[in-house]
């Protein structure tokens, strides 16, 4: 029955970092709120038991979020709320089995959990990976930090897991042991594991044409999630520590780096064709979004830039307030941008960008919002909000 319920909601879910399609774009229209200054658009708001830069996900009418707490952030929380009324359906708690040292503005709960609609895969900076069903029953638990103690970095292992069919891809780039692993979604066993260059990277794998795109310090690779084979590889001109994640649109891949590069992958084994590079579209920490032939990036200094996805030409820029760690989301022709200071700035997209509304929620927000079923979900270190119809 649970599967049937989940399937019914599938189209409206937001199942992983930057949404079910991994693009940051929602198909929601017409119902989304714009201003959050009053309680008019607040469906519910609940306190959270710990910090987190992870985004909420929405699966089958349930909102799932991770937190970390304790003197050394060693307590890992996984919470599930009813999307309808914010009631806490279940709360699972674990103890970190790996490193919990992070930068003060991040948290051990920094990777966004993911779901295949039946299961939830909660991942943490300690490299603990827990799998539960939608009712919170524990199905398997991997202590990847316990198994690989030197796989860690000082800021936080922020890469979010990517679910491809029945495989969970985790990218563990680290100055210690670096690796990418494919975990069987059903059993938790490792299907394959490949060593990577020992460097810290903070970006998340992106789905493109059935392959998982992984950014490293010197190159972007496309891996076959079934066996880990490298399908193609693109070496950067200049080494770069990835933070913002790759965006995709049709047959084009947009790679953040010292410049934003647009690539067109071709045959297996062939290096992708470089379409254009543009320093003026270089994103800061937030991941770019591509929609309707335009690419949107949040640059340093809070500048939102819109470029032509085909040519890389900048079309317009708009200065927003604050610093941005959270990747924006796009829905109904609007971009929802949340600053670290907790300012939600909604920009109407078009030939020019127009700031529709600015609303203050909590300060200290690093998490990207989630959009599902006529509502926008935000989380801070203290609260989870549903903004939109109850």
């Amino acid at each position: 029955m649970l599967v049937a319920v989940a399937a019914a909601f599938a189209g409206a879910d937001w199942r992983q970092f930057r949404g079910s399609e991994n693009t940051g774009v929602s198909a929601e229209k017409n119902h989304l709120p714009v201003s959050f200054a009053t309680n008019h658009d607040l469906a519910w708001k609940v306190p959270l038991p710990g910090r987190g830069a992870s985004s909420p996900i929405v699966v089958g009418g349930r909102v799932v979020v991770t937190c970390s707490s304790g003197a050394r952030q060693e307590r890992l929380h996984l919470l599930c709320f009813a999307a309808a009324d914010g009631k806490c359906l279940w709360h699972r708690e674990f103890w970190a089995t790996g490193n919990t040292l992070t930068h003060e503005i991040t948290a051990v709960a920094i990777p966004t959990p993911a779901s295949d609609g039946r299961r939830i895969f909660a991942f943490y900076s300690s490299n603990d990976l827990a799998c539960v069903d939608l009712d919170g029953n524990l199905l398997w638990y991997r202590g990847l930090g316990y198994e690989h103690p030197s796989t860690r970095n000082a800021v936080g292992m922020s890469s979010s897991p990517l679910v491809v069919d029945d495989t969970v891809i985790v990218q563990l780039d680290s100055p210690g042991q670096a690796l990418v692993a494919a975990i069987d979604a059903g059993s938790g066993a490792t299907r394959w594991q490949i060593g990577r260059q020992a460097n810290a990277a903070f970006s998340s794998p992106t789905l493109f044409g059935g392959y998982a795109l992984l950014q490293g310090k010197t190159s972007l690779v496309a891996l076959d999630p079934r066996g880990g084979q490298v399908r193609w590889k693109y070496d950067y001109d200049v080494p770069y520590q990835p933070v913002a994640s790759t965006a995709t649109w049709h047959d084009t891949v947009f790679v953040p780096g010292m410049k934003l590069s647009a690539l067109r992958p071709g045959a297996v084994g062939a290096e992708p064709k470089l379409l254009w590079t543009e320093t003026r579209l270089r994103p800061d920490f937030a991941s770019p979004i591509v929609h309707d032939g335009r690419i949107y990036v949040l640059k340093g200094g809070g500048v939102l830039a819109c470029g032509d996805a085909a040519t890389g030409r900048t079309q317009w820029q708009l200065r927003l307030k604050g610093a941005f760690w959270a990747s924006p989301v796009l829905a109904d022709g609007r971009l929802y941008c949340v600053s670290r200071e907790g300012l939600v700035q909604v920009v109407q997209l078009g030939k020019q960008g127009k700031l529709l509304a600015t609303s203050q929620i909590d300060d200290g927000i690093s998490a990207s919002p989630a959009v599902a079923q006529g509502a926008v979900y935000f989380r801070s270190d203290r609260h989870l909000w549903k903004m939109g119809k109850p």
Partner: protein
């Protein structure tokens, strides 16, 4: 009423009367959970056992928590989350938790510290008034979380007396709190509280930081190859020895740090330089054999030897700093013990990659200084 409807109703009523939680045989279920290991080993059986275990009665919570005693970290998460699910279901159904039994469990310090903390939180959730008397007896608790809260409570009591102008009554409470405080911020806070009373607290000594070292360097770490290289101090520590190093012969020098927490800034001792290695050694005595922790903080790659045996190594450079960043449980032998550190600087040129330093303390498992003689 037709017979088949009567039969159907009987089945429905019977099903409704079956309790959703009952006394399950938790022993075998816990064994299944305790058997899980790395690489998802035992997960299939554990998932079934977990689900069965979560149908236990709330009264069985102390038994489930006892399953955490000696459990490996992965098994602990299976058991801990199952216990949480049982308590959660009881709360949702407004069923009472077995507070009296949980109090007995909490009082038994042989149980796992994490399990006792969970028991405490459930007790206090059921009856918030129990927090104060329970914490009053936990100033020296082996659970760091419980001890932290107990010390915080004691500080609060002393502060309240200070606020009322009752300094004479506040002073012994501050002293009592300090005697067992092992949290850095609490120790610092108590040092500040005691200062107006004319009592100077040496925070570094309270926490067991080593302040006096012998240092030698710099040795070469070009292309970070020195981390694996074996330089003369690793072969034999001779206080009067002289060895070829990166810029010519070097000798051991005495160094006493004045940092509040025993930080040794190697850039300040030697020239600020990249691709270098320094060694630090400390000789001390203890009266009899005992266990202890060596706890180190450093932004650099490092190796640690105790009495000639390598007890820790990590090849991370500029991977952040944290209190008790690297913890090394070890055994101290009666009489002389020797610690040797190797602290490596790489060639990164980033402004935040200048740090070349370390701190090390010798403490018990609760984080309080182990008494040592030079």
């Amino acid at each position: 009423m037709p017979r088949f409807i009567q039969a159907l109703l009987t089945v429905v009523v019977t099903l409704l009367l079956i309790p959703s939680a009952w006394a399950v045989e938790v022993g075998d279920l816990l064994k299944t959970l305790q058997a899980v290991g790395p690489q998802s080993a035992g997960s299939g059986a554990a998932a079934a056992a977990w689900k069965e275990l979560t149908r236990a009665e709330a009264a069985q919570l102390p038994t489930i928590l006892a399953g955490l005693d000696g459990a490996n970290p992965l098994a602990a998460n299976w058991i801990r989350s199952a216990a949480g699910a049982v308590a959660e279901q009881a709360t949702q159904k407004h069923e009472p938790l077995p507070v009296a039994e949980l109090e007995k469990f909490l009082a038994d310090r042989r149980h796992a510290a994490g399990a006792r903390r969970i028991a405490y939180e459930w007790i206090v959730e059921a009856d918030p008034k129990k927090s104060k008397p329970l914490l009053a007896g936990m100033l020296d608790d082996p659970s760091l979380e419980l001890r932290h809260d107990a010390v915080a409570q004691k500080i609060g009591e002393a502060d309240a007396l200070l606020h009322k102008g009752q300094k004479d009554r506040a002073l012994p409470l501050f002293r009592e709190a300090l005697a067992t405080a092992n949290d850095l911020e609490q120790v610092r806070l108590l040092a500040g509280r005691l200062k107006p009373f004319g009592e100077t607290i040496d925070v570094a000594r309270h926490l067991g930081f080593v302040l006096r070292w012998k240092l030698i360097g710099p040795f070469d770490n070009t292309a970070i190859k020195g981390f694996a290289a074996v330089y003369p101090p690793e072969q034999k520590i001779e206080p009067a020895g002289s060895y070829p190093a990166k810029h010519g012969p070097v000798k051991w020098i005495d160094h006493t740090t004045t940092d509040e927490l025993g930080k040794v800034d190697l850039n300040g001792v030697f020239a600020e330089e990249k691709a270098v290695i320094a060694y630090a050694t400390y000789e001390f005595r203890v009266a009899k054999h005992r266990t202890a922790d060596l706890r180190m903080n450093t932004a650099n790659a490092a190796k640690v030897w105790l009495n000639g045996k390598l007890v820790h190594e990590h090849a991370f450079y500029h991977d952040g700093l944290a209190f008790d960043q690297y913890v090394m449980p070890c055994s101290l032998r009666p009489g002389k013990n020797v610690i040797l550190l190797k602290v490596c600087q790489n060639e990164q040129t980033d402004p935040w990659a200048k740090l070349w330093d370390f701190q090390l303390r010798i403490c018990d498992k609760n984080g309080l200084a182990v008494p040592v003689e030079p």
